[in-house]
Symmetry: C2
Subunit: 200 residues, 2 copies
C-alpha cells in the first residue's frame, strides 16, 4: 500500500497509526500541501478532491477521506465492531469528528502553524474556538462514564478523535477543563503499537 500523506496532518496520522497497529507495511509519500502538491493534475487524477490522506491499494485503486480509509483497513479486525449498532455508533463519532471537531480544532492548528494569520482568519478563529470547545465538551460528557467512545473498547472512533485532540493545544485549545478527555488520551496513547504523530 502507498499512503499520500503530510506528516503534520492529523488526518494523515490517523491512517499511519492504524497501519502501524495492524502491522500493515506501507510506503509513505510526503506531499507539501501548503505548496499545493495535492492540486496538481497528476495528483487530482488520484483524488479529484485534492486532499491527503489518499491510500493507493495494491490493485491501483485510490481511496480518499481519512475516516473511510480507517473503516476499510479496520474492517474484519478487533478495531471495528462487527455488529450493526456499535458499527454505526463508531461511524456516528467519526462523522462528529469530521463535522464538529476537525473544522474547528484542526483548522485552528493548521492556520496557526502553516498559513498567514490574516485579519479575516483571526476573526474566524474566535468562532472556531467556541465551536471547538463545544465539541470537546461533547467528548467530555460522553467519556465521563466511559473508557472509550464505543462499546468500552479501543476502536477506530478513538483513533479518529485522538488525532487532533491530542495536539489541540497547538490550535490554542486548553484541555485542562476536560479531565475525562485527558484520561482517555492517556489510555489511547498506551495502546499496543501506538506511534506519535511525528513518526513517519
Amino acid at each position: 500500500m502507498r499512503l499520500y500523506d503530510f506528516l503534520s496532518s492529523g488526518n494523515g496520522y490517523k491512517v499511519r497509526l492504524l497501519l502501524h497497529q495492524l502491522g500493515i507495511p506501507f510506503e509513505r509519500i510526503e506531499m507539501d500541501i501548503v505548496a499545493g502538491a495535492t492540486r496538481t493534475p497528476e495528483f487530482l487524477a488520484k483524488n479529484p478532491n485534492g486532499r491527503i490522506p489518499t491510500l493507493e491499494l495494491p490493485d491501483g485503486t485510490f481511496l480518499a477521506e481519512s475516516n473511510a480509509i480507517l473503516f476499510y483497513l479496520a474492517d474484519g479486525t478487533p478495531l471495528l465492531p462487527a455488529d450493526r449498532l456499535p458499527r454505526a455508533q463508531v461511524l456516528q463519532w467519526m462523522f462528529f469528528e469530521q463535522y464538529s471537531h476537525e473544522p474547528n480544532v484542526a483548522t485552528s492548528r493548521y492556520w496557526l502553524h502553516h498559513l498567514e494569520l490574516t485579519a479575516e482568519r483571526r476573526a474566524a478563529l474566535a468562532e472556531k474556538k467556541r465551536q471547538g470547545e463545544a465539541a470537546l465538551q461533547v467528548m467530555e460528557s460522553h467519556l465521563a462514564t466511559r473508557t472509550y467512545f464505543v462499546g468500552e473498547r479501543y476502536t477506530i472512533a478513538d483513533i479518529a478523535l485522538y488525532a487532533y485532540t491530542h495536539v489541540a493545544d497547538e490550535g490554542g485549545f486548553d484541555l485542562e477543563p476536560y479531565p475525562a478527555v485527558r484520561a482517555w488520551l492517556a489510555r489511547v496513547a498506551s495502546q499496543p503499537g501506538h506511534v506519535p504523530i511525528t513518526a513517519a
Copy 2:
C-alpha cells in the same frame, strides 16, 4: 422508530427518504432548530451534540449523524454494498459530503433561509460559494462517466449527496455548469419510493 427532524433540513431528509424507500414506518418529531429546540437539556440528553436528525431506535438507543443513521438503516439492504471496498467507497463519498459539500452548499442555504444575513455571514458566503462550487465540480467529474457514485447502482452515497445538491439553487448555486450532476439528480428522483424534501 422515532425521528427527531426539521422538515427543511437536507440532513433530516436523507433519513426520511431512506425510511420511505425501505418501507420502515416511523414517527416524526418536528424540532424548531432555529428557535433552539435541540439545545434544551431534554434534547441534549438524547443527543449531546444538539442536532437533528437523531433517530430513536425501538430499544431506546439514540443514534445521531445523518450519514451514520443511513449506514445503520441500509446495512443488509441493496442500498449499501456488502463488500469491503465498495462499502468504504460509499463512506468516502459520505465523508466528502459532510466535509466538503454540506458546510458550503447546505450552510449557504440555511443562512439565506433561516438566519439574519449579517455582514460577517455575507463575507463568509463568498468563500462558501467558491468551496461549494469546487465540491460540485468534483461530483461532476466523477459522474461524467458514471450513473451513480459507487458501483453503478443507487446507494446511500447517492441519497447523502442528493439531499442538498437538489436544492443547491436555494443556497445561491447554479447547477447549469454541471450537466452530469443534473442527469444524476433526475436518476435519483426516479428511484422507486422517492419522496420530495417537503414530504413529512
